[in-house]
Point group: D5
Chain length 167, copies 10
């Protein structure tokens, strides 16, 4: 069997994937994130993570909130390992913050981890009081064409909002 | 628990969220809107509110109208608090006005409250006489790139109308 | 043009249909309901009303609630006129009551108006606190096969709940 | 090419199918209906017509109404020819009647034409005043098991009303 | 109750809305269209009418045709009143013309009525002979940026045709 | 690799599956059907074939017709091989017959081939003249419980017709 | 405003609804459930709760699980108050148990609280290892027709599984 | 009745529409195509044909292929008559060619017939061997802005492929 | 944390869940199945497994086949552990057999493992040659009411086949 | 029958299509890919392959992964034959690699085979640990406008992520 080898991944610091003794931390912990090397840095390409099982707490009422989060990025040298991303998102389970702040924090932590060319994070929450909130934030590496890309995508963001009826 | 603190929000004038003794006012009242500080003003990002429970009255016949309203904005210094937005939308319950006017009034009130970089409001009403009406209006801060953004989004608005069959 | 004639309907007491000077009453008022004669009493048949524009108030918090209501009945001698049904449902606009009570009240009022062979009312509300409530109630004329029909339909009610995700 | 032959159909009185000089009559005319012989009377089977292009007039306001009609039957000796059914439905274009009456008239006319073992007619109209009306009526040949079938299907009719939101 | 007043609308020539004695004219009649004043001429905004109940006749066979029509425009000084638009579309009920011609006629009549900044009309018809036809036409005020807008939207029209299977 | 063996299938007369030199016959030919042995005759179980690529000709106009056909059966000793079923359905390509007759012919041919315990055939055609036709026919082995099963399923057939709008 | 009164509900022991100082308990706690009196005990009717925001932990790996839960019941004397139901479901947030056990525990706790005529609980979980699990359990008051109803509904449960593709 | 007249169409060479004695040719025949005059050459507008009933043969195996074809064009002086388009597409019924070649042939034949300003053809075929093929081709009149339009639309073609699961 | 304990499960022979050193066997191996004890044997309840990632081989051509499998059962004393079910389904990856045989083999293996009160298995495969095959098989413990339940569910199986278009 | 001829394809090296003795290789093998000549090199056009039956292995755990892959390209001189593409995708069945690497490998192999003007590959995988991963990669011939096209499409990639709920 060709492709990625366990050994090379372990050398890059990937310890969570395939490890059964993982402990789950339900308070905010960006330290759990792990990265590995991009094998195709000669080319721009997108990786999207669909994360429909996100939950956090309201900072005022401590009531649980629920969201589906979509994270898309163009890697540079490092890529985020998906099991560590899962554990990172678990760490919001007992964290209290506004929806808008959670999305910006996730963006900031992933930029810090990977230093990607481009990244965006879109959260779609369930309603409270009959209204749901969907924050969208993005980032392009400053001084590169990806910064313009971030501006371009913000300018053209979500011109066709999905139909919502709270059911 | 980290994140936003109740105290800092109260200092910013947030009184409705988590307050059970709220009175509902069903006649038009923009005074109920409250705002809080944007923690990420160094970056453009979108916040969308999905509001499928809007109702107002026809100004001629006084018959109830129903709509889903989508409000999206890029904050500058101030952000609208979502519970106060709920109460504001409740205040149209006994207000009589044309669909097109309601959407422009909501836009104007939110611009006045937040002075956002960019904002748009899209209402999708149920039909009367077999025809439904969907007004869309937007705004970008004059003299900035967001004004061009508003023009750009108006030029490209809704080129794929959703399929409607009145059922 | 054949079919129903205006004159015969007016004689049966139909005054609201085609009348532009109707006043809307937003507090509970079953007196607005009007009926007309069934031209096909020799046969059982169903009439369903789809009513997606229902709104009432929470009896504890006075907050607006929203529902789609489905009303189905087999007429006997009298049938409910649909414009008067619209006005009757409008009259819940400022009425405060639990979802379960509203559905039973509507059923009772329509039974009183029409004395139908069979009738059922199903309300599907939008969520509060992440949970939505859907009451279903029915009635068959006592001592007839329609009473058994009501039991049969209750026994087999909603074995395939619709998928709900609060969006 | 085997199968039905033009000649045998013409002998049975089928004149409209394949005839280009058809005149369209937009006032109620059951006389346009034509039938042909059932080749499989040794067996019960269903034929369903999906008719999404039905329009008639309101008997009070003369305003156009629109519906999708579903007609299903088990033939006995005669079957309704589908082009003549189309012309028959066209003949309601300028006819004014309540939705409930139109569906029962269609049922009665098809029973008279074909004397079927079983038949049912379900109309699904677009809303007026926010409420749509869906009448359902059926018939089984009296004194046969199909009469019980009609009762059975009425008892179990539409326990899962389709979701309606007037859009 | 604030908002639009009946009196100001009547002064602007709005007579059909809220008038129960309206006569329906089923032969082509652009004269029935009425307009009122735009209260927000300081801003570009879109108004869309969803019209799923359009019917006309085939000019060759006189057979009824059915379509859903989507009309979107940016108003200048005048706006089309929606009840008069309904009556105007009714007036095609006995009019015979090709689908492509109907859509251009509607565009021309609305341009003449309102002199809008921008307008577009998209008809989506049911199939005849297994093929359905969807014409799309638009207009921007000559010599303004809206003329370029019309060209831009035509260049980018419908790059994702909806899935059609004739059922 | 366990399971069915090529050799045993060839001995049972299966020649078409895996044979590249198959000739396609586009005129009605039930002789192309092949069967193999049921390995689980000790139990009732259903096999359904979904066949969305059926086409035949109108017997009067020779115009092509299109349908999706659903065939479901409970095998007894013999089962129909699916590649031979494909070739059999191809053989209707130049065959002219009414929709109702085609479905009954398919049922009869499969009963003759397999002598199944139970079988049903449902065709769903595309519209002509705005109306589509969906015949449904079934069969249970006479004198067995499967005959009652056929009656039971006919009595309860299609009480929830799928939504059709000809698009 | 008529309908349910705050006072009568408080007398029945309803303390959570409309109370802002609620504490959230994230370990299993059936004691939080509250009930109120059924005003319509003279009639069978259903109440359904749609609960798409359920989360618990895997008892072996402590990894979070997510489900939508549908709870339907016919009340006898007592009814469950929906805000207390919300708090009860929150109390599974840090509880570890198999999906099948959670659904039976919820059923048992609600039977104990309300002593309903009939109740059923259906959980639909997200997949682990590519497979998702959906337990369904029900109960009818022993020695009554509702016990037979429970058997009847179990016999006929979910004969049309929803389409699942893990996306 | 106003609009297009039969006489003017016959003078332009339209013979197939409304003609019942049409012969169907099932081998490739572009000669059957007919055109008529564009009444609105002063304006760019789109006409789309939805054609879900296309079938041809595989050139290697002679097995039938099935597709939905979407044809969109901006007319110049001539327009294709839709009944002749139907007959032209029928003529592929016994034609053997690769999917990619069929779509380019259709484009070439329609360019030759109409000399349109712009045209595009998109075929969406059913799968063979688990893979389906969807060719898209377009054309703009050389040396005009429509040639740039063709390039622009090719550059931006289908960036959101529809979800396919072969069911 | 209450609920199921790791220790009790290990004592019952559950070794695969939470074990990272699992080896995947891609040839048919029912020996990998593991069971644990039902904590609620006093009640009938259903457990459904949704398995959209099933793949096997064609026994004649060795070409891969793909299916979604739905398995539903009422447990008696033993229940199948879901990770072992996953591994069992993996073991068909290089197994060659007809669709109908695979579904009956899975049913037989699970009956042997658990001796359930009732069980059913429904496979829905992707098409080959334009036709897809969906076998459904079930079982009730002989001599109990569950045997009748199996007959009842077979009699009423799939009277509403899902819409299939091979896309 | 006109169109492509078997002989010309065999001369171009097409051996797999219509050949029944194909051996399936389940370990990564780009050598199985075959190409044929583009008959329309004078024009840009797109060919899309929808491939919902892709499966590979996780490089760390050897657990099977499943995806739908969408491949779109503009041919230059050579085109990939679809049966050889099927066999190539089969060859990943026992190959272990990360999702991101698989998509880039497929892109590289097809560029090598065909030297296309433009190509893109989008994989959409099923979730592991509640998160699914969708890589997208593309390529334009260096030094041509297609290189800019690749950049343009990457900049505008997937601004409307499909809704994912893991069911
Ligand atoms: Ca709420
Ligand atoms: Ca939903
Ligand atoms: Ca709807
Ligand atoms: Ca809420
Ligand atoms: Ca929704
Ligand atoms: Ca709709
Ligand atoms: Ca037709
Ligand atoms: Ca449809
Ligand atoms: Ca459709
Ligand atoms: Ca998993
Ligand atoms: Ca989904
Ligand atoms: Ca599909
Ligand atoms: Ca499909
Ligand atoms: Ca195939
Ligand atoms: Ca997982
Ligand atoms: Ca799904």
């Amino acid at each position: 069997m060709s492709g990625r080898q366990k050994e090379e991944l372990h050398e890059q610091g990937i310890n969570l994937l395939g490890n059964q003794n993982v402990q789950y931390d339900f308070s905010y912990n960006p330290g759990v994130l792990e990265s590995f090397e991009n094998k195709h840095p000669y080319r721009d390409y997108f990786v999207k993570f669909n994360c429909p099982e996100f939950t956090s707490l309201c900072p005022i009422t401590s009531q649980p909130d629920f969201a589906t989060i979509y994270i898309s990025y163009i890697p540079d040298i490092q890529m985020v390992e998906s099991k560590s991303l899962k554990l990172y998102l678990f760490s919001f389970r007992n964290h209290g913050d506004f929806h808008e702040d959670c999305m910006n924090i996730i963006l900031n932590d992933l930029v810090k981890l990977m230093d990607p060319r481009y990244i965006e994070v879109w959260g779609k929450f369930t309603p409270r009081g009959g209204i749901s909130i969907d924050p969208y934030t993005n980032y392009g590496k400053p001084g590169t064409k990806y910064e313009e890309m971030a501006t371009h995508r913000m300018m053209n963001h979500d011109m066709y909002p999905e139909t919502i009826n709270n059911r």
